[in-house]
C-alpha cells in the first residue's frame, strides 16, 4: 500500500520539477496563480552555480522512482537515505521561500512537500515492511536454521 502511495507521490513531484526544468530551458514564464513563482525562480536558490535546482529535483524523483520500482530489499537503505536527504533540503527550501524570499512558488512547494511525504513513507517501509523475520526464537536472536532434535 505504501509502495503505491509512494509511486503516486513520485509522479506528482516528478511532474512539478520536470515542468519547472522545462520552463527554465524553454525560457518561458512559469504558470502561477501568484507572483511568488517568478520571484523564487529569479533568486539564486533556483539556479545555484547555473544548475537548475528543479533539474536536481527531477533527477532525485527519477532515482527514487527507480528504487521503488526495483523494490530490492538491499536498496531500501539507499532509498530511505536519499528520500530523507531530499526532505531535509526540501524543508530548507520551504524555509527559504517563507523566511528569506517571502514568496511561495506552488510548483516548488508541491515538489518539496512530495519529498517530505516520500521520506515519511520510506521510513515507514524501512521499519514495517520487512522480509519475513518472524518473531520466533531464531528471528529474535538472529539465529536461523537451528533445528531442535
Amino acid at each position: 500500500m505504501t509502495r503505491i502511495a509512494a509511486a503516486a507521490v513520485v509522479a506528482l513531484g516528478l511532474g512539478a520539477s520536470s515542468y519547472l526544468t522545462y520552463v527554465h530551458y524553454a525560457g518561458g514564464r512559469v504558470a502561477c496563480p501568484t507572483s511568488g513563482c517568478e520571484r523564487v525562480q529569479e533568486s539564486f536558490y533556483a539556479t545555484p552555480h547555473g544548475v537548475p535546482i528543479s533539474l536536481a529535483g527531477a533527477l532525485l524523483f527519477l532515482a527514487l522512482g527507480a528504487l521503488l520500482f526495483l523494490g530490492r530489499q538491499r536498496l531500501r537503505l539507499l532509498e530511505t537515505g536519499a528520500a530523507l536527504g531530499g526532505a531535509i533540503v526540501a524543508v530548507y527550501l520551504i524555509g527559504v521561500q517563507l523566511l528569506s524570499l517571502h514568496a511561495i512558488c506552488l510548483w516548488c512547494l508541491t515538489s518539496d512537500v512530495a519529498l517530505v511525504i516520500l521520506a515519511s513513507l520510506a521510513v515507514v517501509r524501512l521499519i514495517v515492511e520487512r522480509p519475513p523475520a518472524h518473531a520466533g526464537a531464531g528471528a529474535a536472536t538472529g539465529v536461523r536454521g537451528v533445528s531442535k532434535r
Binding site: 539564486f44 536558490y45 545555484p48 552555480h49 535546482i53 536536481a56 531500501r76 537503505l77 539507499l78 530511505t80 537515505g81 536519499a82 528520500a83 530523507l84 536527504g85 531530499g86 526532505a87 531535509i88 533540503v89 530548507y92 521520506a119 520510506a122 521510513v123 524501512l126 521499519i127 514495517v128 515492511e129 520487512r130 522480509p131 519475513p132 523475520a133 518472524h134 518473531a135 520466533g136 528471528a139 538472529g142
Partner: protein, 253 residues
C-alpha cells in the same frame, strides 16, 4: 474448536506477523547518516552560490573624494615630500576620539596646510581596540597600496560604528571599497596582501618605538628632524595649527 486451540492459533499467528527486527534501528541510523551527508552537501552547494551583499550607501563619499583631489599621496603619507613640517598621527579605526579628530581636524588641516604644501601627514594605523579594528585596518592599508589611504580613513570615520559591536562587517567593508576604488574587488582581495601585513607590522613597531600610549597620538616637527608628541587639548585643527604655523615660519626663516 476449543478455547485453548484458538488461543494457540492466535499465538502462532502473532509470532508469524512481521515485526521490526533488531537491524531496523541500525539501518535507520545509517539512512539518517546518509541523508545528513546528502543534504549537507546539497545545501552547502546552494549556499556557496549566494551572491555577495550589495554595497550600502555611505555618508560623505563625495565630500571626502573631493577633499583629496590633487593632493599628493603615497601609501600612508599625504602631502608634498618637501613640505617644511611633518605631522605623524597614530590612529585606531575604532577609536571614537580618532573619529572626531579625522572628521573635525583633518579636512581643515588638508585645506589650510597640506594642499598649499606647508604640511606633510604620515599616518600609522593601529588595531588595539578589538577585532573590528584589524578588519578595518586591513582595508585602510590595502587602500594605501592604491594611494587612497586618507580617503579610506576619513570615509571610515564618517561612517564609524560603536566600538566592538561588530560594525565592521563584510558588507560595510565592501561599501567602503566600492566607494573608494575603481577596482573594489582587487582592493578587497589586497587585504591579505604581503604589503598590508608588512605595513601593519611596521606601524606596530613604529608605535612601540614612539611609545604610543593612546590614540589619536600626534607628533609634530620639522621634516627630517626630530618630532615631538603633542598633547591634544581639543580635537580640531586649532589644537595643532599654531604649532604648524610656528614650525613653518622657523623653517622659512
Amino acid at each position: 474448536m476449543g478455547k485453548a486451540a484458538r488461543l494457540k492459533r492466535e499465538r502462532a499467528q502473532a509470532r508469524a506477523t512481521p515485526v521490526a527486527s533488531p537491524r531496523v534501528p541500525r539501518e535507520l541510523g545509517l539512512a539518517v547518516a546518509l541523508a545528513v551527508v546528502l543534504a549537507g552537501a546539497s545545501i552547502g552547494f546552494i549556499e556557496s552560490a549566494r551572491p555577495a551583499p550589495p554595497p550600502a550607501a555611505l555618508a560623505h563619499v563625495e565630500d571626502v573624494t573631493r577633499a583629496y583631489v590633487g593632493v599628493p599621496q603615497h601609501g600612508g603619507t599625504l602631502g608634498r615630500a618637501d613640505a617644511p613640517v611633518t605631522m605623524v598621527v597614530y590612529l585606531d579605526p575604532q577609536c571614537p576620539y580618532c573619529g572626531e579628530w579625522e572628521r573635525s581636524a583633518m579636512p581643515e588641516l588638508v585645506t589650510r596646510y597640506v594642499r598649499p604644501g606647508a604640511l606633510r601627514v604620515v599616518v600609522h594605523g593601529l588595531h588595539f581596540v578589538g577585532p573590528d579594528s584589524e578588519r578595518a585596518l586591513r582595508l585602510l592599508d590595502a587602500s594605501a597600496l592604491e594611494n587612497h589611504f586618507f580617503q579610506a580613513a576619513e570615509l571610515l570615520y564618517w561612517n564609524q560604528g560603536e566600538e566592538n559591536t561588530g560594525w565592521v562587517t563584510e558588507r560595510y567593508l565592501r561599501s567602503l571599497a566600492y566607494s573608494l576604488s575603481s577596482d573594489p574587488e582587487r582592493l578587497l582581495t589586497d587585504r591579505g596582501a604581503v604589503g598590508v601585513q608588512a605595513k601593519i607590522r611596521a606601524d606596530e613597531l613604529a608605535a612601540a618605538h614612539d611609545q604610543v600610549t593612546s590614540t589619536p597620538w600626534i607628533e609634530l616637527g620639522r621634516t627630517g628632524g626630530p618630532l615631538s608628541h603633542v598633547e591634544l587639548a581639543r580635537l580640531d585643527a586649532n589644537a595643532v595649527a599654531p604649532l604648524i604655523r610656528r614650525l613653518a615660519a622657523e623653517v622659512a626663516s
